[in-house]
Symmetry: C2
Subunit: 354 residues, 2 copies
């Protein structure tokens, strides 16, 4: 893919690396490419970060044909630019787009676009402890039409945001409310994709949990409302009697890159990992018996987020005395160590951007 | 609400009224209003139809916090501008926005905005048989942030499109494929709202049905995949042994304005209407026994769309010899007659725009 470069006349002042928050600042450039039926992808370019002009009838504003990805670039101690398994994001975005009948951006071009953009924005990759450059590829339907059908035009964009911790709590345990009223996903739906609709539908549950004093919700399956699926916008794992449980990838749960990496690490350390349906009643019972040793969410934004408390129908289980578990901490340290290029990468996950 | 008027310097040439299609042309003006946290709604205006500028990080492009409505304006034989139950669209949009944790546009202001816009665009209301001015109110999140939370900024827009029939078939029976792989909605989800995500998730099933030679899908419930819910983007009704069956409004099915009006008409004519869970097996059995007399979808865009064939697992039922049923036709004629101001309006549904 040939990517044109359009130079910016005004570069921004970079924010304080110690007060980045998450997704509040955006870098100087963005990658943009358009797709038209009959023409395919065209006009790939890295251009100044600028507003997008949309016809008010653009389908994305009405029917939410839109998907996104989330990934990060890191500066290694040797000052190299590192990406973490970007080919998995490229493939997942293709899977999301297939489900939503959208154009597919070729996976190799996806990785190339990310690499070229982070090279241009190398100075935007923060170096303070725990910071990185969050990369947000996203695609949306731009045909101007109010009939419901697959759009004949799409725009693919990648923007970058220097970030600190996703949760203000950092790597500290959070309180989780087990949600029974709202459902995130159901078999036959879009739960396995990163499409906008999944997130729009989830905000009400999050707002409810916050009102009740909880940081996020634990989602149950949409059919029986019995099995644990995800926590907030993350995959979720439980350590019970020294074995690990997480929901299987069967169409409702996001196939997380962090999830996959954590499972590989755990297996390499000799842990048994059950990708299975874990009933909320069994989980709470394990908590009551002291067998629920650790629990944590996994995702690109927060990496690992320990769970210190579960509330299911008023029944409260405190996990590991509301302290970050030993295995949780080891997973966080190892995975972020690999991602930041500070520890050995036995899985060959890290990609150095040349 | 005080609405500012910004005059357009260049009015468009109006399209041929006999070749409008659906949602392909847009009028000269649009209504726009913005909401900011702490400030509320501001800058209500009718302005020239123009592109919307969005920060690439605008939340609507990532998390699909977006809802819409669909309604129509008609020219009566007396050359009055008519709306059909616009207060129901105002209320439903408020309900949709509440579910998605979006700002609520006051219902009276919604109706006022629609009225003022259609008055400005009176010349855009087509008068040829079966045509109308389709009105599309929609709202979307504009805060520039990649964290998942309720947006702190929204834009509410209303655009107008002169339209003919929604389906190229017009009021003629269509073939419907009973969908078992994909699911449209589930209890606890967003099925009762007009949010973009519902539609993005439905496109794959529609595309599959078209590939198989069908116009649309019949959706089954997401839990048991047993009960009929909607057809394509419409509510659906079945006449079996002279009684009417349609899915109840319990969170998964859209509370359609046309659905509600059809039920009222049917009841006023003495029909028994069952708002109940109708199993697909019972429906197909009724078809086999010749008891399924008529079937049709209901919605603002197509008003009524007769169903001539159902295919469930290869089992095919033809309805009324693939001809539009007598009751279906009477409902279509009566409802469109009321909407176009050609027949009496005993329910006081029609609102004359003064």
């Amino acid at each position: 893919m040939d990517i044109k470069f359009i130079k910016s006349e005004n570069l921004k002042t970079k924010p304080d690396q110690n007060a980045l928050g998450f997704g509040k600042y955006f870098s100087d450039y963005m990658f943009v490419c358009e797709w038209d039926e009959g023409q395919g992808w065209h006009d790939a370019r890295i251009q100044p970060y600028a507003p997008i002009m949309l016809n008010p009838a653009s389908m994305v504003l009405h029917y939410a044909q839109e998907t996104f990805e989330g990934m990060k670039a890191y500066k290694s101690p040797k000052n190299e630019i590192l990406l973490f398994r970007p080919e998995m994001n490229a493939r997942r975005m293709a899977n999301s787009n297939e489900r939503l009948c959208m154009a597919i951006f070729p996976e190799a071009d996806f990785v190339q676009a990310v690499e070229e953009l982070v090279k241009v924005e190398a100075d935007w990759i923060p170096t303070a402890e725990g910071t990185s450059l969050y990369i947000r590829p996203f695609m949306f339907a731009t045909e101007a039409s109010v009939g419901v059908h697959p759009s004949k035009k799409y725009t693919f964009v990648i923007v970058c945001s220097p970030v600190g911790a996703y949760y203000p709590e950092g790597v500290n345990p959070v309180k989780i409310y087990v949600e029974e009223e709202y459902v995130r996903a159901v078999r036959g739906g879009t739960g396995f994709t990163k499409c906008g609709g999944n997130y729009a539908g989830s905000v009400a549950a999050q707002a409810k949990a916050e009102k009740l004093g909880y940081t996020q919700v634990l989602w149950l399956d949409g059919v029986e409302r019995k099995y644990v699926e995800e926590v907030g916008t993350m995959n979720v794992m439980f350590k019970i009697n020294n074995e690990i449980y997480t929901a299987p990838i069967e169409g409702t749960v996001l196939p997380g890159v962090t999830r996959d990496s954590i499972i590989a690490l755990l297996k390499s350390w000799g842990y048994t990992v059950h990708e299975t349906h874990l009933a909320i009643d069994d989980l709470m019972a394990a908590g009551d018996k002291g067998e629920l040793e650790e629990a944590f969410g996994t995702g690109t934004a927060a990496v690992i987020s320990p769970i210190g408390e579960l509330n299911y129908r008023g029944h409260i289980v405190t996990i590991n005395d509301f302290k970050t578990g030993e295995l949780t901490q080891k997973l966080y340290d190892t995975l972020t160590g690999i991602q930041w290029g500070k520890v050995e990468d036995p899985f060959n996950w890290v990609r150095v951007v040349k």
